[in-house]
């Protein structure tokens, strides 16, 4: 069991046949369902450190930073997103790294922090085949996600907004979530729940950059998204509601 970052990296190796246990909130139900373990190794990170939050201009979260520590760090729109994940018991256990690594697909409406991290242009430091590298969260999410995430770095946006559409239950998964951040005068926006993993809403971003009205920008919300039917909502519902949520996020971002 690794007790340092160096030992975690050594234990992960090239990642072949390794499953990482961070907070455990996603992996442990797989154990209960009898789907895990099926051979291979489990790398338990709870003693590896990796949970430090460093604030020096940019803010760096160790991959094992719990969601309640992410809330406490107060960097928006990330903190607002973390604050509404599940309930206090889960937020004390779940980690930012595990949330980023939530498997894509309609079976798992998890990974709510992916949208704010995309909107903030987060950088992901990881190890795996080829050694250590730091890449944009956009690149990380588009890749095979077979690497060990060590830390996630974000800038403090000048302005931020976050909105989530939930079913009327205090502990529900979010149907959709939209995050927006303005860094160096440019607005980035991303949505969770409208594709297998969170995606940038580039049509909206371009419209805003071109000076479009909030309504005209929101009308481009469904460009490039692939909504799905699942137990939370239909693809049709997601397509209908997404532009409404985007309009609200723009209003929130612009201080309305």
């Amino acid at each position: 069991m690794p007790v340092s970052e160096a030992e975690a990296i050594e234990g992960f190796g090239d990642g072949g046949n390794v499953t990482v246990l961070a907070g455990g909130t996603i992996l442990m139900p797989e154990v209960t369902y009898g789907r895990y373990p099926k051979g291979g190794r489990t790398l338990m990170l709870h003693r590896a450190g990796l949970d430090a939050v460093a604030d020096g201009g940019a803010v760096t979260f160790g991959a094992m930073t719990s969601l309640d520590a992410v809330v406490a760090a107060g960097v928006e729109p990330l903190a607002a997103a973390a604050a509404v994940v599940a309930d206090p018991e889960i937020r004390a256990q779940a980690t930012i790294g595990g949330n980023l690594c939530a498997a894509p697909g309609v079976e798992a409406p998890r990974g709510d922090l992916q949208a704010p991290l995309l909107a903030m242009g987060a950088r992901v430091r990881s190890v795996g085949p080829g050694g250590e590298r730091t890449e944009s969260v956009d690149e990380y999410l588009a890749g095979p996600r077979d690497r060990l995430v060590l830390s996630i770095e974000v800038d403090r946006p000048a302005r931020a907004a976050y909105i989530t559409q939930r079913r009327p239950h205090s502990h529900s998964y979010s149907v959709m979530a939209i995050a927006a951040a303005e860094v160096d005068g440019t607005v980035r926006m991303a949505a969770a729940g409208v594709a297998p993993h969170a995606v940038r809403l580039t049509g909206v971003e371009q419209a805003l950059a071109g000076g479009a009205s909030p309504a005209d920008a929101a009308a481009r919300a469904t460009e490039g998204v692939e909504p799905h039917d699942d137990a939370l909502a239909s693809a049709w519902y997601r397509r209908e509601v997404l532009p409404v949520l985007v309009a609200r996020v723009i209003k929130q971002l612009q201080g309305g």
């Binding site: 246990l21 455990g24 442990m28 139900p29 154990v31 209960t32 338990m44 309930d87 018991e89 889960i90």
Partner: protein, 176 residues
């Protein structure tokens, strides 16, 4: 893996990825924590790990070396109920009882976190991941607030005297 459960040192040979809930129930016959949804969504398996409420179904026992786990069996015995247990009893906060142990442990953690009486908003936040399909929550919230005021900190003798015709029954897994 060695850990302490309700004050008693325990050792288990279960695989490190075994859920704490399974270890409690199957290795040690401690059955207050209930299997509900078994994916972290219902709260009925909540126990305390080093004083913090955790879903026992989501905690890998391999992460608990040296930890102190507390279940309802560790709160109070049949003739020495904890204040939170008396409050649930007195305020009719349980119906079928399946969610109750998880609620009680989360409530105990909330009460332990402050010297003051807890507010309704604090209770709603702390228990937001706990579902009850019988009582409608109002009595549960009332019971937790009442327990936090010290109203049930008195001796058992008056309100909870054991029926002498009944044998003393200690729950399995209670502290020795």
């Amino acid at each position: 893996m060695e850990l302490t459960i309700n004050g008693v040192p325990r050792a288990t040979a279960s695989s490190p990825v075994t859920p704490l809930l399974t270890v409690l129930r199957e290795d040690f016959d401690i059955t207050s924590a209930k299997p509900g949804c078994e994916q972290g969504g219902c709260g009925t398996c909540t126990v305390l790990v080093d004083g913090a409420p955790r879903r026992a179904c989501l905690v890998a026992v391999g992460t608990l070396g040296g930890a102190e786990v507390t279940t309802v069996e560790g709160l109070g015995g049949a003739r020495s109920l904890a204040a939170i247990q008396k409050a649930f009893n007195d305020r009719y906060a349980a119906q079928c009882g399946y969610c109750t142990t998880g609620m009680v442990m989360a409530a105990q953690a909330l009460i332990d976190s402050t010297d003051e009486a807890v507010t309704r908003d604090q209770v709603l936040d702390a228990l937001s991941g706990h579902v009850c399909r019988c009582t409608g929550y109002v009595k549960i919230v009332d019971a937790i607030i009442a327990a936090s005021t010290g109203e049930f900190d008195h001796d058992d003798a008056d309100d909870f005297a054991a029926d002498p015709s009944q044998p003393e029954v200690e729950p399995k897994g209670a502290p020795a």
